[in-house]
Symmetry: C2
Subunit: 545 residues, 2 copies
C-alpha cells in the first residue's frame, strides 16, 4: 500500500476558493485582481485533479467536510498592525493569536497568551507571570515582536525549563509539538565524539566567508548531488550556508520581497515560516485561497515532504507547481528539510534538484538542513541551493548576521562526508526507528479511534480530535491544547498551521519508545478527562431543555 499523495495537501478543503469570492468587492488594483483570479483558477485546476484525501481510521476512509474558518494569518497581520497603530505599551499582555513555530522552534501549540479558563479574555489574562510586564522602553516594532514571540514561544520556554526525564524529572513536559528527531541522539553523540571531530585550526577561529566556509559548501554540494540524485554535480558557489533554515527563509524573504509583498503557500503549512518571514522582513505568507488584500505575490513556498501532513509530492505534481510558477514569474522556494526522513520504502522522494531541467532555474531555490534528517537542530545549520547567483549573493550579505561557528562547520563537513557511516549505520537505524515509532503511534491512535493521515514521511502525524470538541471551534481547540499542557504534554494545534477546520493536531512521534509511551499515557488521560467534561456539558444542556 502506498501512502504517497498527489494532493495539494488541504485536508480541510481550503483550496475551493471561498476566500477570494468574499474578496470580490474590495478595491484592488486591476492587475492584482487579475493575477489573483488567474492564480486561483490554476490552483483550483490543480486541486480538482488531485483532491482526494485518504484520511485513515483503522481501515476506513473518511472524507472530511469543509468548514468556513477564519484565515489566521490575515488576522495576525491586522492585529500586529493594530498594535502598531495604537502604539500600545501593553507588552506581553497584548499578544495577538500568533501561529506558533511548529517545527523549527515549536512551542507546543502556539496557544497564545490565553489562559485556559478564560478564552474570551485573552488580553489581560496571561498564565506566565514573566509575561505581564508593561513596555516603557521598546519601540513599536520591539513591542510587536516581543508580543508575537511570546505568543509563539511561551510554552517552549516552559518546556525548556522543565523537560521530562524518566529518572530526573518524571513530571516534566513531554514535547510532541516541536518537530525534533530524538531517535538517534545516541548514534549522533557517538559519531560526534570520535577523534576526527575534535579538530581546530586557525581558519575555524577567524572571521569566516559569510556564505559559509568553502570546504563546507563543497561538501554540501557533493552531499546534495548524491542524495538528491542531481544529474550534474552541484556548484558549491550556488550553496549558501547559514545558521538554520529559518535564517535562510528570513533572508530569502528579505531579498525576494519588499515589505508588504507576499509569498503564496498551500495550507496547512509549517507556521515557523510565517514567523521567520515576518520577524525581520515583514513579508506575508498568504494562503492559496488568496483572501489577501491586493498584495503583490512574489513567489510560492512548498515543503516536500510536506509539513504537517507528511505527504511526498510526486514528480508530476512538482512539475505542475513549477510550470505554474513560471507562467506567473513567481519564485519557488522549496524546503526539502525532511528529504531523508521518508520511512515508507514504497515511497520515492523526488528532490527538485533531481530534475533534468527546471522550468525556471533562476527562480527556483532549494532549502535543506540537518535539523530533521540528522536530528541536530542544535547545530543551527541551514543551506540554500540556488542556480541564481544574484540571489545567492544577496542572501550571503546576511551571512554577516547568520553565520555558523567555524568548529560547527568543520564537524558538519566531517559528518556529511562520512557516507559509509550515513548509509551503513545512520540511515538504516534512523529509518527503522522511525518505522517502529510510527507503527506504535498509529496502533495507539487506531485503538483510541482517532482519525489520522497515514503517511510515510516526516517526524509527525496529523490527527483529528474534532469529536472531542463541542462546539467544534478554534476556541475549544485551544482549550483542549491547554488541557494537554496542564498535563505536561505539548501538542501543536491545527490553527498554528493555518488550518481552516478546527480539531486538527500535529503529533510528533520521532521520540524514544519510553518517552512516547509516557506521552501516549498522558494523551489518553487528557482525552478521558475531556470526554467526561463533554458528557457533563451535554447532560447539563439536556437538563436545561
Amino acid at each position: 500500500m502506498s501512502h504517497q499523495s498527489d494532493t495539494l495537501h488541504l485536508p480541510c478543503g481550503q483550496m475551493r476558493g471561498q476566500g477570494l469570492g468574499s474578496q470580490g468587492t474590495r478595491t484592488q488594483p486591476m492587475e492584482m485582481m487579475h493575477l489573483q483570479q488567474t492564480i486561483e483558477k490554476h490552483i483550483m485546476q490543480l486541486a480538482a485533479r488531485h483532491q482526494q484525501q485518504d484520511l485513515v481510521l483503522g481501515d476506513q476512509r473518511h472524507h472530511q467536510a469543509t468548514g468556513e474558518q477564519e484565515a489566521l494569518l490575515g488576522n495576525l497581520m491586522s492585529q500586529l498592525v493594530n498594535l502598531l497603530q495604537s502604539g500600545t505599551t501593553g507588552g506581553l499582555g497584548l499578544q495577538p493569536s500568533c501561529p506558533s513555530l511548529d517545527v523549527r522552534g515549536d512551542v507546543g501549540g502556539g496557544q497564545g497568551a490565553q489562559s485556559a479558563g478564560q478564552p474570551d479574555q485573552p488580553v489581560h489574562q496571561v498564565k506566565d507571570p514573566e509575561a505581564t510586564f508593561v513596555s516603557q522602553h521598546l519601540c513599536n516594532r520591539g513591542i510587536v515582536t516581543s508580543a508575537s514571540y511570546w505568543a509563539s514561544f511561551q510554552d517552549y520556554k516552559m518546556y525548556q525549563g522543565d523537560k521530562y526525564h524518566e529518572d530526573k524529572n518524571p513530571l516534566g513536559f513531554i514535547n510532541l509539538g516541536i518537530s525534533e528527531n530524538k531517535l538517534c541522539l545516541d548514534l549522533m553523540t557517538e559519531r560526534l565524539s570520535q577523534s576526527d571531530m575534535n579538530f581546530t585550526e586557525d581558519v575555524l577561529l577567524q572571521y569566516p566567508d559569510w556564505s559559509g566556509q568553502p570546504f563546507l559548501r563543497e561538501e554540501v554540494a557533493r552531499f546534495l548531488t548524491y542524495y538528491c540524485k542531481v544529474p550534474a554535480q552541484l556548484d558549491p558557489e550556488n550553496v549558501v550556508v547559514l545558521n538554520g533554515c529559518s535564517s535562510v527563509f528570513s533572508t530569502l524573504a528579505m531579498v525576494l520581497c519588499d515589505p508588504g509583498e507576499a509569498l503564496l503557500t498551500p495550507t496547512p503549512f509549517y507556521g515557523g515560516f510565517v514567523f521567520s518571514s515576518h520577524l525581520y522582513s515583514k513579508v506575508e505568507l498568504i494562503l492559496v485561497h488568496l483572501d489577501s488584500e491586493g498584495k503583490k505575490v512574489r513567489g510560492l513556498v512548498l515543503i516536500n515532504p510536506q509539513n504537517p501532513l507528511g505527504d511526498v509530492y510526486s514528480r508530476d505534481s512538482l512539475k505542475e507547481y513549477l510550470e505554474f510558477a513560471k507562467t506567473y514569474n513567481l519564485h519557488v522556494i522549496i524546503d526539502e528539510i525532511y528529504m531523508l526522513s521518508v520511512f515508507d520504502e514504497s515511497i520515492t522522494f523526488h528532490s527538485i534538484l533531481s530534475m533534468e531541467s527546471l522550468p525556471d532555474p533562476n527562480r527556483t531555490h532549494v532549502v535543506w538542513g540537518t535539523s530533521k534528517d540528522f536530528g541536530i537542530s542544535g547545530f543551527r545549520f541551514g543551506v540554500l541551493d540556488t542556480h541564481n547567483k544574484e540571489v545567492a549573493s544577496a542572501v550571503s550579505s546576511f551571512g554577516y548576521l547568520h553565520s555558523v561557528s567555524g568548529i560547527a562547520q568543520y564537524k558538519l563537513c566531517r559528518l556529511l562526508r562520512d557516507r559509509e557511516w550515513i548509509d551503513g549505520v545512520y540511515l538504516p537505524t534512523y529509518h527503522s526507528r522511525l518505522q517502529r515509532a510510527h507503527r506504535y503511534i498509529t496502533k495507539k491512535l487506531k485503538a483510541l479511534g482517532i482519525p489520522f493521515l497515514n503517511r510515510g514521511s516526516g517526524l509527525y502525524i496529523w490527527i483529528n480530535l474534532k469529536v472531542y470538541l463541542d462546539p467544534c471551534t478554534f476556541e475549544e481547540e485551544l482549550l483542549l491544547c491547554r488541557r494537554f499542557l496542564d498535563n505536561k504534554l505539548i501538542l501543536s494545534r491545527g490553527k498554528t498551521y493555518m488550518c481552516k477546520e478546527a480539531g486538527w493536531f500535529r503529533m510528533v512521534f520521532a521520540d524514544r519508545p519510553l518517552r512516547l509511551k509516557q506521552a501516549i499515557y498522558r494523551f489518553y488521560q487528557v482525552l478521558e478527562e475531556q470526554k467526561r467534561d463533554l458528557r457533563v456539558k451535554q447532560l447539563e444542556s439536556a437538563q436545561r431543555e
Copy 2:
C-alpha cells in the same frame, strides 16, 4: 606616561557643530529641533572640556586642523533611498559609497566598487567581474542590500580567497584592515583541543533556549562579574547570547528604534555598526554634529575602548555620557568588546558594569564578545547584558534567527570558566604579545615619519597619511587605499569610520611578527611609490606653470 584620554574621540573636530549650523534652515518639527540643539549644546560642553588630541609623532604633539568634509553616512542613506526610488536594476554596478565593516567583518578599507584608475566613473567600472551582474530577480531592498554588501565586502571576499601564508601563498593578501586578533591562535588551538572540550550531549544537539543555553548565560554572568568588577553578581537572566556582537547590535536596533529613527554616535566610529543597524532594521547611526533631517534620536552608542582610536574612557567621562543620556531619555548601548585588550599597564579600563549605580539602568545596555579579547571571531558569539528584562526578552525573540551552535556554546562555557588558564596563561601572553606588536609598529611608523595616535588598547592604531595625498581629499584617500590593495595589503581608511578629515587610516597590528614585518615592507613600498608619483605630479604641475 599615560595614554588614557578623556576626549570625545574626534581628532578631526567633528563635534564642533558645523553640521547643525547648516541644517538650521531645514524644516524640522520644533520638538526635534529643540532636542537636537540641546543635545549639541551638551556634546559641545563635553567636548570643550576634553578636547585635546595628543597626536604623537615621535615625541611631538601635533594639533590637527579641522576640515569640512561630507557626512558619509547621510550620503549613504540618501543614495540607498535614491536607489530604492529609482527602482534601478543595476545591481552591483551601482553600489553607493558605503562605510565598510571595519571591525567585525572588515573588508579592508571599504573602497566601494570604484576601480583604481577611474575614480570619477565609479558606477559602471567595477574591478571584480563577479560584481557586474544585472539584477532581474531581486526585490528593491535585495538590490540595495547586495550593493551595500559588495561595496563593503568585495575586498574581504578577495582576501578570503587569497590569504597570505609565508610558505604556501607568499603573494597573498595581508589584512591589516580587519580587526582580528591573530596573536594567540596557537594558545587557543591548544586549549580548544584539550579533552574537556570534545563533549557532546543531547541538550547541545537539540533546539536551544533562544536566549542562549542557561549554562552559558550563567558562566557569562560570572565571567563579566569578575572581569568587569561588578559590585553585585550579574543575573544570568539579564544575559542574552547571540551569534556575534553585530547580531546583538542589529537586534537592539530592531527593538529600540522604529524604522527611520536614529542612534547617536561620536565619530570616527566603527563602521560595522552602520551596516548591522541598517541591514535589517533600517536604523540610522547619526554623527554627533547631527546633520540629519529631523530624525528621532532614541539612543547613544559608545565603544569603550574606542574603535578606531584606541581611547579608554575615564570613569568621569562615562558618567557624563550616562547622565547626559538620562536627561534626554536616551538609551545607551555600550560596546566593551575590547575590554581585555588594554595592553598599557598604566591604563585602567572601567566597565560600565563596575559602577555602583547607573543613572538609568533600564536604558543602559552592555555588549561584549570573545572575538577580540580571545581572538575567536569564527565562533560567532556575542553577549548582551541589560538590567531591562523587557529589552532582554525582545532581543531574545531574535535568538530564533541568531543562535549559536550548541557545541560552540559548550566550548565557550568551558573556556570562560577556566580562569586559571585565562589569568595564568592566556592574558599575560596576549598582553605581552600585544605590547610587542605595538612597540614594533610604532617604531616603524616613527621611522617613516608617520603621525599616529599613541594609545594603549585595542588591536589597531590610527595613523595619518595626509602628507601622501595631494590634494588631501577622500578621492585621493581611496586611491591610496587601492594602491595598498594592488600591493596585496589591506588597510581600512578613515572615511569608513565617518571621519571628517581625509587621510586617516586604521592599521591593525595584532598579528604575528613575521606577517607584520611583511606587511610593513609592503606598506613602505606603497608609500615610496606614492611619493614618487606625487613628485612627478608636482613637477609636471610646476612645468605647466
